[in-house]
Amino acid sequence: MPIWILRDFSKCSSCKLCEIACSLKHEGVVWPEASRIRIYELIPGLPVISTCVQCDDYPCVSSCPFQALSTGEHGQVLVDENKCTLCGTCVYACPGKIPRIVRGKLGVIICDLCNGEPECVKICGEMGYHALQLVNKPDGEIVKNYLVSPEDASLKLLAKAIGEE
């Protein structure tokens, strides 16, 4: 059963504990850049949560010339570090430019849903923020609507906060 991370910008405190937890889980060290989830706080206090949405048609997977990407049972994208050449094709194929090439990593990094038990969701909930919640994956393209540009989204959140048109 595909799962999905539901995000709520208004509840996000921008504590970035999700980034810390994600890097600890996958890399064993605090390495913010190697987090599969990213919190963009371009406007202080108004964070934008950004991570893979597990697109219905997985354009990243089909774009990879080296078949380094596949999907798993939870709907996650899996990266085969042995096949990935860091060519960047998938980055451009992704409507949200989510896959990331990080210095020191042998393959692109994309959220793998922690194989069904997302650490980021766990820590966010433990801390009582509940900005990330685990749900069944919604059908169709609707999920792609979250692939917003952090810059634009930040300005929209600001306009909303200060009550501007």
Partner: protein, 609 residues
């Protein structure tokens, strides 16, 4: 080395060069990082020349440092220091900024800025590569405008990652106002010390840092992970009220119950305006709750918005210090008024405490007829947000009366006393050049020790107060450890858990005695630099005292009549000197220096006898 990289990045702004400086592990073990490391580096570099170092000259380095706990212990702080243009010593100022994390992710424990730029510039550090770029397009800006424009500039000019944090100064720092802060994230300030003016004197508008690596390895990663998770849970449990109300709770708790809140330049310390409380702020101004810093389970901030005279004012809660100093201390008892003034202070890049203090000083002088309408150019009235906003801008731009007030309370009082031929220092609520934080000592209920400020090596700084026992969380040694570690005082649980954490990160295996010795060492060296002082202010045992006002009885509230007693303070002062190993003039003895491993600085004592 574990928990730290053992190197700092030094940028020479004048020459436009940068280099890496190695710091031996022994130095970290002795001084940790942050405030302690800054004290050591400055003492070693300047020694006897400290007295002649003008804090606003290019020769004064600005240090942005992290510590071994940065990035591992929940929460984040960046230590900002150098020679303070307020106390003429070292103030370990801290600000919540991810610049600390990015520095460590770049392979450095800190950044040292030396010299100055000819034209306004910003410093961009990416994975340790330094670029000094033109900042003329953002010079003059502050607050949200600065943040939006600098985000775009970083993207266009150096193709920075959108997740590139920065610290910056507002117009006040540019104008070398001594109460200017180094700002971060709209409402965060390294306020104490006046380092915004130091940055302005270097013509550095902002410092942006991005690192792509991991944080340095730690000694015991597995138990640290367990410790991290349990610390998060414990902190969250303990700080529930803080999470809901932030420090804004103090507007009622400290103001009404403890009677320790500055009201009208400390002429009172009590109020009973219920709307001027966390609830009032929640109902009137909070649009987002909670708001946290990197890695923080407390989230003491809230996003606040107020609309006033057709303009939008945005800030955090404001926190207790701002609400007190830019609210009650100025006779402003409305959440909206406090948000407007706090937001304005953020935008101008002013420290709300130091600036709210000097403004209160000015309004009191005006009320007493000592400052005249002719001198000020307009009427000054308690609680009048319009004239107060005008006064604040005049300070930030050094206009009219603002020119004198921009020197901060201590120097403004000195200048005006000279000019008027009367002693105005009794209206100056400061200690050794640092305006006192918004926690009174007269009721004995909030900061209960009469020597809290009088004996602090950071003067009126409420985040570094002196106290007994000298090796406990009541002592200044403890606060210096927090600022050197570098951790946020709101996420720390107690000394034993912090020590355990430090040992797991560094592998040093320190015992509690050695742990507190680090603090004692830092305080001792800071004390020496404080007593050397100069060039425009020097301190001696005589200045180890409270502001005169604290000896006057509280006029209102549940502790009416309460005041500090001269004999008691003198008695405690003697006891404190003795326990710290300082002589009767408050000078650390040679023996003390030896005991804490500071022998190399013994020759500096000769300047003090």
């Amino acid at each position: 080395m574990k928990g730290v990289w053992g190197r700092l990045l030094e940028v020479d702004l004048t020459a436009g060069t940068s280099r890496s400086i190695e710091i031996p592990e022994k130095v970290y073990r002795m001084f940790l990082g942050g405030r302690g490391l800054a004290t050591y580096l400055l003492a070693r570099e300047f020694r006897e020349k400290w007295r002649f170092l003008d804090p606003l000259s290019p020769d004064n380095p600005l240090l942005l440092l992290t510590g071994p706990l940065t990035g591992y212990y929940p929460g984040v702080k960046l230590s900002v220091s150098g020679k303070s243009p307020q106390s003429n010593s070292i103030i370990g100022s801290v600000v919540s900024s991810e610049v600390a994390i990015e520095l460590k992710a770049s392979g450095f424990d800190g950044l040292v800025l030396k010299g100055s730029c000819e034209k306004p510039c910003y410093v961009f550090v990416e994975n340790g590569n330094v670029e000094i770029r033109d900042a003329s397009s953002i010079w003059g800006l502050g607050g949200l405008k600065l943040i939006k424009q600098f985000n775009s500039l970083l993207k266009e000019d150096v193709k920075a990652d959108p997740k590139t944090p920065f610290v910056y100064i507002g117009p006040a720092g540019e104008n070398k106002v001594r109460t200017a802060a180094v700002m971060a994230k709209l409402a965060h300030a390294a306020g104490y010390g006046g380092y915004g003016a130091v940055m302005g004197a270097k013509r550095v508008k902002a410092v942006a840092v991005k690192g792509y690596g991991s944080l340095p390895p730690v000694d015991d990663p597995e138990s640290l992970n367990t410790l991290f998770r349990s610390a998060l849970g414990n902190i969250k449990e303990r700080m529930k009220r803080f999470r809901q109300w932030g420090t804004t709770e103090g507007t009622w708790h400290t103001g009404y119950y403890l009677s320790s809140m500055p009201v009208k330049n400390w002429s009172e310390e009590w109020h009973d305006v219920k709307d001027f409380s966390h609830v009032g702020f929640e109902l009137e101004t909070w649009v987002k709750n909670p708001w946290a810093d990197w890695g923080c389970p407390v989230a003491c901030m809230k996003l606040s918005i107020a609309k006033w005279k057709g303009e939008v004012f945005i800030t955090d809660n404001p926190d207790y210090e701002m609400a007190a100093y830019l609210g009650s201390n100025l006779g402003v008892f409305t959440p909206k008024g406090a948000v407007v003034l706090s937001s304005l202070a953020d935008e101008l890049g002013l420290c709300g405490i130091q600036t709210g203090n000097v403004m209160g000083f000015a309004v009191e002088l005006y009320e007493k007829g000592i400052l005249t309408r002719d001198e000020v150019g307009y009427e000054l009235k308690w609680g009048d947000v319009e004239c107060l906003a005008r006064l604040m801008k005049d300070i930030a731009y050094r206009r009219g009366i603002g020119e004198v007030l921009a020197e901060g309370t201590f120097r403004a009082a000195r200048l005006l006393s000279e000019k008027k031929g009367v002693d105005l220092t009794k209206y100056a609520i400061q200690v050794k050049g640092i305006a006192v934080g918004a926690h009174g000592v007269r009721s004995g209920k909030d900061y209960p020790q009469p020597i809290s400020y009088a004996l602090s090596v950071q003067g009126g700084d409420h985040t570094s107060v002196a106290g007994f026992p000298v090796n406990s969380t009541e002592s200044e040694a403890w606060y210096s450890i927090l600022d050197s570690g570098v951790v946020c005082m709101f996420t720390v649980l107690d000394d034993s858990s912090l020590l355990e954490y430090l040992n797991k990160v560094t592998g040093w295996g320190l015992d509690p005695g050695e742990f507190y010795d680090i603090g004692r060492r830092i305080i001792t060296l800071q004390r020496i630099l404080l007593l050397i002082g100069g060039p425009d202010a020097e301190w001696s045992a005589r200045d180890d005292d409270n502001p005169p006002r604290f000896y006057e009885p509280l006029p209102t509230g549940p502790y009416k009549g309460s005041a500090l007693k001269r004999e008691e303070v003198d008695e405690l002062k003697k006891k404190y000197y003795a326990e710290m190993g300082w002589d009767e003039k408050g000078i650390p003895s040679e023996e003390t220096l030896k005991r804490v491993g500071l022998e190399e600085f013994t020759p500096m004592l000769n300047m003090l006898y």
